[in-house]
């Protein structure tokens, strides 16, 4: 397979209907819609982007949207893709990619736990880290960690001084 550069990759993805932007010589970001992003990820996997480094969420509360970010890297082309999918905050449901990468199981569990995003098709979305948790998923912007800590653990700003 020929070595793909950032520019040719961006052109290729644009022809498939994906908008992208260059971040650096070895890194681009791509915006995909929630309807067909799995196909795009599958395509990327077939052209050599086989390393899924991480899946993480971002809470854009001002725009009332969640973003799920897939960090994908290719060992051959040495390009990193920040693959972004936006979903509405009221109904945070997205398709799973466990079929493409096995380790996605645990990343999705983590994102579900911290953002409350549901991954359709993922069989096990149980909590990995938190126990006895009945509050908002903690990494959402409308969850106030300081207030939570103050109420449950009795924490004080500046250690209670001043």
């Amino acid at each position: 397979m020929n070595r793909i550069t950032v520019e040719t990759l961006l052109q290729d993805l644009a022809s498939r209907g994906l908008n992208g932007e260059k971040i650096s010589e070895q890194q681009i970001k791509v915006f995909a819609s929630k309807d067909n992003f799995v196909n795009h990820l599958h395509y990327l996997q077939t052209i050599g982007f086989e390393h899924l480094a991480n899946i993480n969420g971002v809470d854009y509360i001002a725009e009332n949207e969640f973003e799920v970010v897939y960090q994908v890297y290719s060992y051959e082309h040495k390009i990193h893709i920040v693959f972004k999918v936006r979903i509405p905050r009221e109904k945070p449901v997205i398709l799973t990619v466990v079929t493409l990468w096995e380790q996605a199981q645990f990343y999705e569990q983590e994102v579900h736990e911290f953002y409350g995003i549901y991954f359709e098709g993922n069989k096990d979305l149980s909590h990995l880290f938190l126990e006895n948790w009945n509050d908002l998923p903690p990494l959402r912007k409308d969850f106030n960690t300081e207030e939570f800590s103050e109420k449950l653990f009795g924490s004080k700003r500046h250690g209670g001084g001043k």
Partner: protein, 381 residues
């Protein structure tokens, strides 16, 4: 002589009542860190495994959104206590990428030196870990004492023994003190002179070979697909190293080859650490030799009020466990909008645990875990 073929446990496997749950960790001497596996056992054989994580969860990613850009530097090294500097460097690199600044050459070399020193401490601990999990405490005692030589150098350079917070956005905090590099080279000589001892007591020990050979095999393709990284990936025959592929700091100026091996089992991973240990000493020597004069940090104004323009970046660093990545989103304020950390241990700690452990007996769990250099805090965060 195959004990398995006629063991009672084989018969018992069909009987539902003979299985029991065994808590391997968190309170277990063989466990690396505060983490655990709940093993579903038949006799001494493992049926299935459930990772029991969350004991180390501190909500780093949330806390980083509450604190200023530079304040966060106190948090990031605590994500991996054995090898803290890659976290600082990856965080700083991401911030610098968003700000679009290039750090001075001397700072790049100083970063490289701290990164490699940190890698050495982690490898020395890993050598001790191999000893400890196999019940061989002599190398553990030796290597932990040898690690202290580097800890003292760190203390001299940065003021901290374990957490250094030496790298800051825009370079490093201060220049190296006078005489530091000469002493560092002496320490490197001392550490290299110890290698034959480790070889004879650990890496060439016939019983170590017997215990580790064939344990936890990962094939070349599986290692690439499941997100393993670092020494684990290279021990399976993949020539991938962030230092070479996505060069950062002063690595483009240094002369080194990616070390790969074909074995893919625990023994190969142990030898991989031993080989890379030698390479790291060599890299530090090169960096010390080539380090240019000049500034060690950019003037970014008052760091306490640092503002980073809106943007995002994912930067990765090769740590002793594998690829550490920091994905940072900035909205132009005095605090990050989102910091997401990619720890290298998750694929090994969760996915490969579920693949490997059910083929093992209880004897091998600790050694297997040590061989994949699983560091729980980096996925527990």
């Amino acid at each position: 002589m195959n004990f398995n073929s006629y063991s009672l446990t084989k018969i018992a496997k069909e009987d539902k009542d003979t299985t029991y749950d065994l808590f391997f960790g968190p309170n277990h001497p063989g466990m690396h860190g505060n983490f655990g596996y709940v093993l579903d056992m038949v006799g001494t054989e493992i049926n299935s495994v459930r990772p029991n994580a969350g004991q180390l969860h501190r909500g780093f990613e949330k806390l980083m959104e509450q604190r200023g850009w530079v304040q966060n530097l106190t948090l990031v090294p605590r994500i991996c206590v054995m090898d803290p500097d890659p976290n600082e460097v990856a965080y700083c690199m991401s911030v610098e990428r968003i700000m679009g600044v290039e750090i001075p050459e001397r700072a790049k070399y100083l970063r490289t030196i701290t990164l490699e020193m940190s890698r050495l401490t982690a490898y020395l601990l890993a050598i001790g870990g191999f000893g400890g999990t196999l019940g061989h405490y002599t190398p553990t005692h030796w290597s932990t004492a040898d690690r202290d030589l580097i800890m003292d150098m760190f203390e001299w350079l940065t003021g901290g023994r374990v957490y250094h917070i030496y790298n800051i956005p825009g370079g490093v905090r201060s220049d190296a003190p006078e005489g530091f590099f000469d002493k560092l080279l002496e320490v490197m000589d001392a550490l290299e002179a110890r290698l034959p001892d480790y070889d004879s007591i650990l890496f060439e020990n016939p019983i170590v070979h017997k215990r580790l050979k064939g344990l936890g095999y990962v094939s070349k393709e599986d290692a690439r697909k499941t997100g393993l990284s670092g020494p684990n990936l290279r021990a399976s025959g993949n020539a991938y190293d962030v230092r070479k592929d996505v060069p950062y700091a002063a690595y483009p100026y240094l002369d080194f080859e990616i070390i790969t091996q074909e074995g893919g089992d625990a023994l190969t991973r142990a030898l991989q650490i031993r080989l890379e240990y030698e390479q790291t000493i060599n890299l530090i020597r090169q960096a010390v030799k080539k380090i240019p004069e000049g500034d060690v940090r950019l003037n970014l104004g008052l760091l306490g009020n640092l503002k980073v323009q809106a943007g995002e970046a994912y930067e990765k660093v090769e740590s002793s466990k594998g690829e550490f990545g920091y994905y940072i989103v900035s909205d132009g304020g005095t605090k990050p909008y989102r910091v997401s950390v990619r720890g290298p241990s998750l694929p090994a700690g969760f996915l490969w645990a579920q693949k490997h452990l059910p083929t093992m007996k209880i004897d091998d769990v600790a050694a297997w875990m040590g061989s994949l250099s699983i560091c729980p805090p980096d996925f527990d965060k």
